[in-house]
């Protein structure tokens, strides 16, 4: 079977410390993105379970699969136990079991505040198809927001494409790049289409895969740093989204910005869904009166 280098590992997790049946309020968030979908379950505002998987062609299918995956180790939890579900992201209108949908910038900021702590002020989201920088306050409220201009280079799709061309599993790219210390070939940071041609040309010239991937990651970091330069970079600084798992990009970025990102304890892709679940909690409490 041909290996799919672009395919990253899907994940799910259940808290070993929480018995959901003893909890009072169960709320959930479902973030349907262009590339990945997450489902997060919170019990009384504490993170209980989540799933992270590739998005399907139809948003309804993505939502359903994400829900099922998140429930697998919850020992019998069903939709009926969930008091409030909030949908967010690309396909949020199509989450069939959502009580409300909220745009993802707000969800993202709340989620990052929860996952990385209330000292977080600058969030870099490196998603499947775009890059976003959000400035927030101690409560996770959006103060400023800026995103990249219409391009996949530096976003998840770009990285998946590079992994595929280099025939290196996307999960191994990060470590490979983080360890590489040698020279870097010049690459075109602006365009994934040109990056492909560049990469193949460099391979022919004798550059190693590690060097080419390192150059691409450095170019990504350069591009991202450019974007962050437009807002006031304030600590704490955190990175969410799939590319946050790429040690090579993170290392290059931290060096470029002279700042350390807060290290994540959970899957970096769940920030949006976590924020959605938190909104769900606030809405459920308001409905309860």
């Amino acid at each position: 079977m041909t290996e799919e280098y672009f395919r990253w590992t899907e994940s799910k997790w259940v808290s070993p410390d929480i018995d959901w049946r003893k909890g009072d309020l169960i709320t959930c968030g479902c973030d349907i993105g262009s590339t990945s979908t997450q489902f997060v379950i919170m019990v009384d505002g504490r993170l209980y379970a989540y799933s992270n998987q590739r998005s399907k062609g139809k948003s309804e299918q993505s939502a359903q699969l994400a829900l099922e995956n998140a429930l697998t180790e919850t020992e019998g939890m069903t939709l009926k136990d969930m008091e409030y579900i909030v949908g967010t992201g690309y396909g949020r209108v199509s989450v069939p079991f959502a009580d409300k949908d909220i745009t993802e910038i707000s969800c993202h900021a709340r989620g990052a505040n929860f996952l990385y702590g209330d000292k977080v002020r600058t969030i870099l989201d490196m998603g499947g198809q775009d890059l976003k920088v959000i400035s927030c306050n101690e409560k996770g409220k959006v103060l400023n927001f800026i995103m990249n201009d219409k391009c996949a280079a530096g976003a998840g799709r770009g990285m998946e494409t590079m992994a595929e061309i280099m025939q290196i599993s996307i999960e191994k790219v990060g470590d490979m790049v983080a360890e590489y210390e040698g020279d870097l070939p010049d690459v075109t940071p602006e365009c994934v289409v040109f990056a492909k041609t560049d990469a193949l040309r460099r391979l022919k010239e004798g550059w190693s895969k590690a060097s080419i991937l390192s150059a691409y990651c450095a170019a990504t970091a350069w591009r991202v740093a450019d974007l962050i330069g437009k807002v006031n970079l304030e600590e704490d600084f955190c990175i969410t989204g799939g590319i946050a798992k790429n040690k090579g990009v993170v290392k290059a970025l931290e060096k470029r910005l002279s700042i350390q990102a807060v290290k994540p304890e959970f899957d970096t892709q769940i920030a949006g869904a976590v924020g959605a679940a938190l909104y769900g909690k606030a809405l459920a409490e308001r409905a309860r009166g």
């Binding site: 262009s34 948003s59 992201g89 690309y90 396909g91 949020r92 209108v93 199509s94 949908d101 909220i102 745009t103 993802e104 910038i105 707000s106 709340r110 198809q129 775009d130 976003k132 409560k139 996770g140 409220k141 959006v142 103060l143 400023n144 927001f145 800026i146 995103m147 201009d149 219409k150 391009c151 450019d226 437009k230 938190l278 909104y279 606030a282 809405l283 409490e285 308001r286």
Partner: protein, 363 residues
């Protein structure tokens, strides 16, 4: 009392009133750039002998023709052979006015072309301009040809978008007049001046002796200071010029600029907004795109991209407090577009639209 027929509608006015003003007051929008409700009509005064544009001095070249006005307020009057400028037409009883014929539209575009030929405008015609952060240009247009920082609030932009921009406008050749500083209060970038002369009229309106004037130079009207600098020209730094400038040629550099002034608001082009009701949303396609909700003052209160625009509108119909109008635009990259528009909104207003952040008070 006079009665006039305006686009088929009967309006009451006073004989001798300014026709453009009467139309605006009747809710009928007529575009204009040199007209201002508080100021005398263009040009307002004669040319000066010389003006200074930073270190360059320009002499007036006497000319038999009148200085070129913006020409955008043209209308058809029944009985007149050719269109007239409504800003210098007086109301007569039983006048019949048409402001929206095809001929008038074309004439406005032509006159607009003449203005834009001498003004950087790449961003005006870019299909991606709404929501663009304009910090980098994916079309690789050099900065001098792109729009200035007034982009989101630029009156020229709004008027040009309303009128429509012709394709064959000659390439803009950047001038290089250095910036003229008005102390710490404002800055002049005369490269952006479209010679509407509002500034000079406003200066005369606020101050007895003005500090700025214009000369005729070939076929151009060139604005400048009367002496080498604003200070030596007797400028009082009141900010009147900045308050009425329709472009980025005169921009405030401090919040204190023009604080004490009270100019009337200029009427801006209407935007197409639909009534946010069950009937109103029935016609919206169930397609991917971005919807926006507006309050009764036509201010944006919600921006959302969706895989199903009608559903998005339906879902919010009861809960979106204060939402009176909406717009929708198809776009397959709707999440990205939504985020661009929100970014743009935050850029202008400093926070997300009200309903986008309405749940924040729950935290």
């Amino acid at each position: 009392m006079a009665k006039i027929i305006l686009n088929g509608r009967e309006i009451t006015a006073t004989e001798g009133d300014n026709l453009l003003k009467v139309c605006h007051e009747a809710g009928e929008y007529i575009p204009s750039l040199c007209y201002h409700p508080d100021l005398p009509p263009f040009p307002g005064c004669g040319p000066s002998k010389t003006v200074h544009r930073y270190e360059k001095t320009l002499e007036n070249e006497p000319c038999t023709e009148d200085p070129t006005r913006c020409g955008l307020c043209v209308v058809d009057i029944s009985g007149e052979d050719s269109p007239v400028y409504s800003c210098q037409t007086l109301v007569r009883d039983r006048m019949q006015v048409s402001t929206d014929t095809l001929e008038i539209e074309m004439l406005r575009r032509e006159n607009l072309s003449a203005i834009l030929a001498r003004h950087p405008r790449a961003c005006l015609v870019c299909p991606q301009n709404e929501g663009c952060d304009r910090l980098g240009c994916t079309m690789n247009i050099p900065e001098k040809l792109r729009c200035c920082s007034k982009f989101n609030k630029c009156e020229l932009r709004k008027v040009a978008t309303y009128i429509g921009i012709n394709r064959n406008i000659p390439e803009y050749k950047p001038e290089s007049v250095p910036l003229i500083k008005g102390g710490k209060l404002f800055t002049y970038d005369l490269n952006l001046c479209i010679s509407c002369l509002r500034c000079i009229r406003a200066c005369a309106y606020e101050q007895e002796t003005g500090a700025i004037g214009y000369v005729l130079n070939g076929d151009r009207v060139m604005v400048g200071t009367l002496a080498e600098s604003l200070a030596t020209s007797g400028c009082k730094f009141c900010g009147a010029c900045v308050a009425v400038c329709p472009t980025g040629a005169m921009m405030p550099a401090s919040e204190k600029c023009g604080q004490k002034l009270t100019f009337s608001a200029v009427m801006l082009p209407p935007t197409l907004q639909l009534d946010y009701t069950q009937d109103g949303i029935e016609k919206v396609p169930e397609k991917e795109g971005v919807v926006q909700l507006f309050d009764e003052k036509s201010e944006v209160i919600y921006i959302a991209g969706s895989s199903n625009m009608r559903k998005e509108l339906q879902v919010n119909l009861k809960s979106a407090k204060g939402a009176r109008y909406f717009t929708y635009k198809e776009n397959s990259m709707f999440t990205q577009r939504q985020n661009e528009l929100i970014q743009h909104y935050i850029d202008v207003h400093g926070k997300q639209p009200r309903i986008n952040e309405e749940l924040d008070d729950l935290f």
